[in-house]
């Protein structure tokens, strides 16, 4: 440890001591002021330009106009600009009085000085060619501190600002920080221990550190970590977005991204393949697959949409994404008009547009979103194997329980047969206590339980029946509509034809205890007859009485009017009522035709499940009564099977193992189909190129002048010999002469590793963006990339090897008062401390609990999220079934991304609708709720607690185990004391609330739940309450600020 770092000297600094060198730089000092305050009317956009004045162009600003010049180089007093700025005459002053901009005195002096010094214009810093900067020579103190060239640049600025760097972080912190930054996962306790033992900060060869970094960069988890950034930038999603939000099969591209990062594909090649893999000579399938990057935009399949309008939007999206990810220029501003600040014209925008305008696509979504590549995924096999193993495992459990259930069934059947004579019929007539209607019909109930409506027959009508069923539970409803002499033709209704329409049926629970009601869901409806809906305005199918849509429904048209019509509705779940509760049944007839109200009808209820409510035939129990067997051996096989099925639905112990088996089987077939050839959206050119036009105001069909492909002149020209197509565009992006790509990319990498970019506006390197905190350092990193064959791993190695990176992030008792002096850490006098992204937090707890399935690549999976999240947002069109077994514990990068309902547990993540390279990190109570209550954290905390108890039976050591896995360190004495005290309280609680403890332990996959939680047998209370307490304590540690923070 360097001694100076331990003995900080308070350095008092003044406000001016941190200012840049006194000489005024146009691009650094003047241009931002002009851009902010003047360019809206006197900048690059010809449409909003006033007074025919451009302040961004030297020739125009300094030319002689009548008798004055706006800027007279060397003479501020003779410059109209200064006079106008200083004027307090509202008619003359600039910026104008009604324009919400205001120049400070310092700004005015800067402009004055600049003019006085000759008003030299220069190009905006990021548009200049990247040159290798000279390494600054730092003072002795910094010499002792520095580890590589990065520190020369950082040290120089620190030295100028008279600040000292922070001391080096502890070896433990560095081990954790490096692992999180490079792989997105915390280190294992073993690797921390090994690193701490080996690491010697004074080692001139840096061996241990360097090897640790190399091992992390060699880990395949590195590719996953980088891919998460790339998928956000690429607006990757597994669905189209917009109304239909159809599922895509583009995930093989995601595997390509992970592999490319892992194999350290040079970034120029990475770029070229994604822009133009299809245009390379004899492209491999993987090179074609790479071009999916530019197909990850949203796709609109809304009915009534003009496909060409959509297609234009996709092309625009590609241009804007290119602008943000590679160029760091808000090129999208030029879509509607020339850029207000940066010299990118409306026309150059559409020249860029032209590169992407001849893709062989036609603006369609879903299955019509050509061009596709037929690609056979190579990463599915391990997942099939794992899913198969899960099925086998759960099948074994299910078979065992099935055998027990069969025994239970046999004894039930025997009892039932003995009591057969006492069996009532399956369907019991319902006699509602209250009969009302919405539009005046009067309903009466006779002693045959027949409900009859009076003769009014209104256009629309709702029949409302309220009453208490004489059953302990309800599982189905049967509606019978008999012919009746009072109806037209003696049929079912007083409509013209005598036929009826039932548009919808509602079942609710009402209660004397509360004013609110409960909707009860049906699973299905069947009927003995359904009219041809094509003939009758959409009315026919009985299933439509469940959809709350009056435009369809069940109807009897063309049926035999002498036969009673019957429908059976199965409830989604058995309904059990409390003594305060009654059921409310509403039969609606709100059809287009109107007047087709039921004349009379009967309602029956049942408490039986299975075939009884899924068929119109006799229920199994009725068949049993009819067969009247003396013993259970006499029951014939078919009926026995039906009775068994019905029995099993109600057998909770069996259902507890059967449902997970069903889920596992569904998952297995999903993975199997994932292994088949996939149609991946990729790029390929049309045989006849489309002509591109400037689109006026950015409107898709407002074609202006014709343009051909080209790059913005301010950023150079296509390299020699480069073709004028996407391939040439990609070559230009990664060419040595391109001033932006290497800077922007180096900044992305710096930001991912250091927490904040050298350019804080990572998406805007233009005039309105921020200047780099360390301009020469950025250029040095960019040159390293350029001259090092775009080697990202090497760049990361260099960054993390610096002394700058290794600083501590602590600011407590800091004599430099950094927090106040440099709140945004622009000097880099400390390491950044920040909350990890939500995906990283999830991955971390999976790793800490050793639940993580570390397999690389493969089809999307569905991590836990609360029930109904998809259904809620998509109005019920999509249901979410969480993945089972190991598939549940895959890294977040593999989580299925539905554009209309992004994973609920990912707060602050990019939305992936359009390209986003960074999102603000916020801190809200909703995030706290997620970490407290998300099932992932709950299950992981229990599993980690279990692991701790298996490692040791000493409480303090268990706590230490949990700390080591979650925080990569041992608890301190004071911490241990607090945790043990909390643990004791939780133990006391669960000891006297064993049922609560069991319930707390039963969250998650059946395979992770300890078997002793299922049994309430005597003798296993201790493991139950102690594990419940330790699990809750683990979740507490999981929710500590430090656990979710990179420091």
């Amino acid at each position: 440890m360097r001694s100076f770092a331990l003995t900080f000297v308070a350095i008092l600094i003044t406000a001016t001591s941190l200012k840049a060198a006194p000489a005024v730089s146009f691009s650094k000092d003047v241009l931002p002021i002009l851009a902010e305050n003047c360019f809206q009317c006197h900048g690059p956009d010809e449409h909003t330009r006033e007074a025919d004045l451009r302040l961004d162009v030297a020739e125009d600003a300094t030319r002689l106009r009548d008798e004055y010049r706006v800027i007279t180089p060397g003479n501020p007093a003779q410059s109209e600009l200064i006079q106008r700025i200083l004027s307090d005459d509202e008619a003359l002053m600039m910026p104008p009085a009604d324009f919400d901009k205001h120049l400070s005195e310092a700004d005015i002096n800067t402009i004055k000085n600049w003019i006085a010094n000759g008003a030299a214009y220069e190009q905006h810093w990021s548009f200049k060619r990247i040159e290798r900067p000279e390494l600054p020579v730092v003072n002795k103190r910094m010499q002792r501190w520095r580890r590589n060239q990065i520190d020369d640049f950082v040290g120089q600025r620190l030295q100028q600002s008279r600040f000292l760097p922070s001391q080096e972080a502890t070896a433990t912190t560095l081990a954790r920080r490096l692992s999180i930054d490079i792989t997105g996962l915390p280190p294992t306790p073993e690797s921390v221990r090994e690193f701490v033992n080996r690491y010697d900060p004074a080692d001139p060869l840096n061996t241990a550190y360097s090897e640790y970094v190399d091992s992390l960069l060699a880990s395949p988890h590195y590719g996953e970590r980088m891919a998460m950034f790339w998928l956000d930038a690429a607006r990757y999603s597994d669905t189209d977005g917009y109304q239909s939000d159809s599922t895509r099969n583009n995930w093989p591209w995601k595997d390509w991204v992970i592999n490319s990062f892992n194999s350290n594909m040079p970034y120029d090649q990475f770029t070229i393949e994604q822009f133009a893999g299809d245009l390379l000579p004899d492209p491999t399938p993987e090179q074609q697959l790479a071009t999916c990057f530019h197909r990850n935009h949203m796709a609109n399949g809304e009915g009534g949409r003009h496909p060409e309008e959509s297609r234009i939007e996709y092309v625009i999206d590609r241009v804007n994404t290119t602008g943000t990810v590679w160029l760091g220029v808000t090129i999208g501003c030029s879509q509607c008009h020339s850029h207000k600040y940066d010299p990118i014209s409306h026309e150059s925008y559409y020249q860029m547009f032209s590169f992407f305008n001849s893709i062989d696509e036609d603006g369609k979504a879903g299955g019509g979103a050509k061009p596709f590549l037929s690609y056979k995924p190579t990463t599915v096999e391990p997942h099939i194997a794992s899913a198969q193993a899960l099925v086998d495992n759960r099948l074994e459990v299910e078979r065992a329980e099935f055998a027990l259930a069969q025994t239970r069934f046999n004894s039930w059947l025997n009892t039932t047969i003995e009591q057969l004579s006492e069996q009532a019929s399956t369907w019991r007539p319902f006699a509602p206590g209250k009969l009302t209607s919405a539009f005046g019909s009067v309903l009466t109930l006779d002693d045959q339980q027949l409900i009859t409506a009076d003769g009014k027959n209104p256009h629309h009508e709702d029949y409302q029946l309220t009453g208490k069923p004489n059953l302990s539970r309800i599982t189905g409803i049967r509606i019978e509509v008999p012919p009746n002499a009072d109806n037209t033709n003696g049929a079912f209704s007083q409509s013209e034809s005598g036929h009826f329409i039932l548009t919808d049926v509602k079942l609710r629970v009402v209660s004397t205890a509360t004013s609110t009601v409960r909707d009860i869901k049906f699973a299905q409806a069947i009927a003995d007859y359904q009219a041809d809906r094509g003939k009758y305005n959409g009315y026919g199918l009985v299933a439509h009485i469940l959809d709350d849509d009056p435009r369809n429904g069940w109807a009897s048209f063309d049926s035999d009017i002498k036969t009673t019509r019957t429908a059976v509705l199965a409830l989604a779940e058995p309904l059990v009522l409390t003594p305060e509760e009654s059921i409310y049944l509403e039969l609606q007839q709100r059809s287009l035709q109107g007047s087709h109200n039921l004349g009379s009808f009967r309602i029956y209820l049942t408490d039986q499940v299975g075939t009884a409510v899924r068929s119109l035939d006799k229920a199994p129990l009725e068949k049993l009564v009819a067969a009247n067997p003396a013993t259970s051996e006499e029951v014939e096989d078919g009926l026995r099977a039906e009775l068994l099925e019905q029995y099993l639905i109600d057998d909770i112990a069996y259902q507890r193992v059967k449902l997970p088996l069903n889920e596992a089987q569904r998952q297995l077939s999903e993975f199997k189909s994932a292994a088949a050839d996939k149609r991946v959206m990729v790029l390929s050119e049309r045989s006849d190129a489309r002509q591109s036009y400037v689109l006026e105001r950015g409107v898709w069909d407002a074609k202006g002048a014709a343009v051909s492909s080209g790059v913005p002149p301010v950023l150079g020209t296509l390299p020699e010999n480069a073709p004028n197509n996407r391939l040439g565009l990609a070559q230009w992006l990664t060419n040595r002469e391109n001033p932006l790509t290497a800077r922007v990319t180096a900044n992305h990498v710096w930001r991912l590793i250091m927490g904040r970019g050298l350019v804080r506006t990572a998406e805007d390197f233009g005039i309105q963006g921020e200047l780099p905190t360390h301009p020469d350092l950025l250029d040095w990193l960019a040159i390293e990339l350029l001259e090092n064959n775009w080697d990202l791993k090497a760049l990361i190695h260099t960054i993390v090897s610096s002394a700058t990176y290794r600083q501590s992030s602590d600011v407590a008792n800091d004599k430099r008062n950094l927090l106040e002096q440099d709140p945004e850490n622009r000097l880099l006098a400390r390491a950044e401390r920040f909350r990890m992204p939500a995906w990283m937090i999830r991955d971390s707890v999976l790793q800490a609990s050793e639940l993580l399935d570390a397999t690389i690549g493969g089809p999307p999976v569905r991590p836990y999220q609360p029930a109904g999240v998809w259904a809620d947002i998509t109005m019920g069109r999509f249901q979410y079934a969480p993945s089972q077994g190991e598939a549940q514990f895959r890294r977040t990068v593999y989580a299925f991304w539905r554009r209309s309902a992004a994973p609920a547990f990912l707060f602050d993540n990019a939305k992936r609708r359009v390209c986003q390279v960074q999102t603000p990190t916020t801190n809200t109570p909703l995030q706290a709720l997620t970490l407290m209550n998300d099932l992932t954290y709950l299950e992981a905390s229990r599993v980690l607690a279990q692991n701790a108890t298996m490692a040791t039976d000493q409480k303090p050591e268990q706590i230490a185990y949990i700390f080591e896995h979650l925080l990569s360190r041992q608890p301190e004495a004071e911490e241990l004391e607090i945790v043990l005290k909390q643990l004791k309280e939780l133990e006391n609680f669960y000891q006297s609330n064993l049922e609560q403890a069991r319930r707390y332990l039963r969250h998650g996959q059946p395979e992770t739940i300890p078997s002793f939680t299922n049994s309430s047998a005597a003798g296993n209370e201790q493991p139950v309450w102690s594990l419940a307490a330790l699990s809750s304590i683990t979740s507490m540690v999981m929710n500590l600020d430090e656990t979710i923070t990179r420091e």
């Binding site: 406000a15 941190l18 931002p32 919400d100 109304q243 009534g304 949409r305 808000t330 609110t516 305005n537 959809d547 009056p550 287009l592 804080r760 506006t761 998406e763 805007d764 233009g766 309105q768 963006g769 921020e770 905190t773 602590d810 600011v811 407590a812 800091d814 927090l819 106040e820 440099d822 709140p823 945004e824 622009r826 401390r833 920040f834 609360p866 109904g868 947002i873 109005m875 209309s900 609708r913 999102t919 603000p920 801190n923 809200t924 909703l926 706290a928 709720l929 998300d934 607090i978 909390q982 939780l986 609560q996 707390y1000 332990l1001 969250h1003 507490m1036 929710n1039 500590l1040 600020d1041 430090e1042």
Partner: protein, 482 residues
């Protein structure tokens, strides 16, 4: 909710501006060029200190969003002479090349008169459909704008435009702007709450969460959607087996351990984290207290209609909206889907009227009798209207209407708008605005104006540009301001 970290640096640097955007220069030191969003001082409601810009007419908004495009021709825009044109071609001088969706492009545009009958209501004599008798009965409290017009003809772009001022997703919604600008007097509930009607029928138009999104504003300004589930806010409920008193113990432990860490690290964010967990704990109580309607008297349910007894229904959400207004929540937005009546309009549209009519009127009545209407702005409307031509065979029951952005009706009530007033008019076919044009940006400017916000001054710097809700457009409709 949403702690105001007024004593810590990241309140200014992280919370308020998003970490990347601020170019905070404490004491003028260490200035990058101050081109990101400048942190701004905040008042005790978490609003910007320089707001309101002028007199406040409405302290809060309840926006009753009718998604899908309700037909102004059936509901509000009465054209008594239209029957003379029934089945005839819409004159070209009226149509003026209006774009159609691809559903009806190229098909004959035959006039289909209103399926609904109209009558005049109250002293103001406003014409309202007989399909909306309850709303008709409160027409004297409403301010109708019959001359709304939009630019987009498909649902998602038009709704995105209506909510955010841009058709492309990604800008902050009107509620997020209000929350960003004004904060909210209730710090234990979100500033901006979204309530979506629970429908049994899957709707054809999903309600994207970017309709109430924060766009580039920090995420604390996004609308928080209360779900119609047992858990109104995601992850609100503690897990089975962990009772609230044990949650309290765990939070105490988190607080103590965080404090130790904070002493060591010095990062004020750690204490802020503890406060967010405490806020979460309070929300676990305040949200269920809000959404549990069991303390409402029977007469309230009678006022709002039978559907209000069904949690998640539009009618129940109207009661919730009133409860939110009582608790000072700044912006409450209801969404009622399924107004997209391309076919079978006479039964389909009636169904949506039945869902909403009584409860909407009850909300006006209820706010009024509680003295809340005078400073609550209620807004009713969708993303566009519907066209005069029949879609499908115009004279059969299966006919409906296609989308129509060139004119449609909105109404407002309460905080700062004229009661019993009608602004603007359409031509004889309810096809073009004839007078008093109100563009979507004008409506947005007016809503902000009534909240005391100058829509041109409430801006946010993002990617080098000062964005605002109304883009570079929008004029306050002073004619409707009382």
């Amino acid at each position: 909710m949403f702690d105001h970290l007024s004593t810590t640096r990241r309140y200014f640097l992280g919370q308020c501006t998003g970490i990347s955007l601020g170019a905070m220069a404490a004491g003028g030191l260490l200035q990058g060029h101050a081109l990101g969003q400048q942190p701004k001082a905040r008042n005790e409601h978490g609003g910007l200190a320089d707001l309101p810009h002028h007199d406040v007419k409405a302290k809060r908004v309840i926006y009753l969003t009718q998604s899908g495009g309700p037909s102004q021709i059936e509901l509000y825009d009465h054209k008594p002479d239209m029957h003379k044109w029934a089945g005839k071609d819409l004159p070209e001088e009226i149509r003026q090349g209006q774009r159609l969706t691809t559903m009806t492009a190229g098909k004959a545009q035959l006039v289909m008169p209103s399926h609904a009958k109209f009558r005049q209501w109250g002293e103001s004599g406003a014409t309202v459909s007989e399909w909306l008798p309850h709303i008709g009965a409160v027409a004297d409290d409403l301010c109708f704008v019959k001359s709304m017009h939009s630019e987009y003809i498909n649902h998602a772009p038009a709704m995105t435009f209506m909510m955010t001022g841009s058709q492309i997703p990604g800008r902050p919604s009107v509620g997020a702007w209000a929350s960003y600008g004004l904060g909210s007097p209730n710090r234990d509930l979100p500033d901006y709450v979204v309530l979506v009607s629970k429908m049994q029928r899957p709707s054809d138009q999903p309600l994207y969460n970017y309709y109430w999104g924060n766009g580039f504003l920090p995420s604390r300004y996004q609308g928080v959607k209360f779900r119609n589930a047992s858990e109104p806010v995601l992850y609100l409920e503690d897990p089975d087996g962990l009772p609230r008193e044990m949650r309290r113990k765990l939070l105490d432990g988190i607080g103590q351990l965080n404090k130790l860490k904070s002493r060591k690290s010095g990062d004020p964010e750690i204490e802020a984290r503890t406060r967010q967990f405490e806020m979460a704990y309070r929300m676990q109580a305040s949200v269920p207290e809000l959404t549990d309607l069991s303390d409402e008297p029977e007469e309230v349910f009678e006022l709002y209609g039978p559907d209000s007894r069904r949690p998640g229904s539009y009618a129940a959400n109207c009661i919730l909206a009133r409860r939110l207004a009582e608790r000072g929540v700044r912006f409450t937005q209801l969404f009622h889907p399924d107004w997209d009546h391309h076919s079978r309009l006479s039964t389909w549209c009636v169904a949506r009227c039945r869902d909403t009519d009584q409860a909407t009127a009850a909300l006006i009545t209820d706010l009024k009798r509680r003295g809340l209407l005078e400073d609550t702005l209620v807004v009713w409307g969708g993303e566009f209207g519907r066209g005069v031509a029949g879609q499908g065979n115009w004279n059969t029951p299966s006919a409906g209407r296609d989308h129509h952005p060139r004119c449609f009706t909105y109404w407002m009530a309460g905080g700062g708008v004229k009661a019993g007033y009608t602004h603007g008019a359409t031509d004889d076919f309810s096809y073009n605005v004839a007078e008093g044009h109100v563009h979507v940006h004008d409506l947005q400017a007016t809503i902000l104006h009534l909240l005391g916000i100058d829509h041109e001054q409430l801006t946010y710097r993002y990617q080098g540009r000062d964005f605002r809700l109304t883009d570079v457009h929008g004029k306050v409709v002073h004619d409707i301001v009382s």
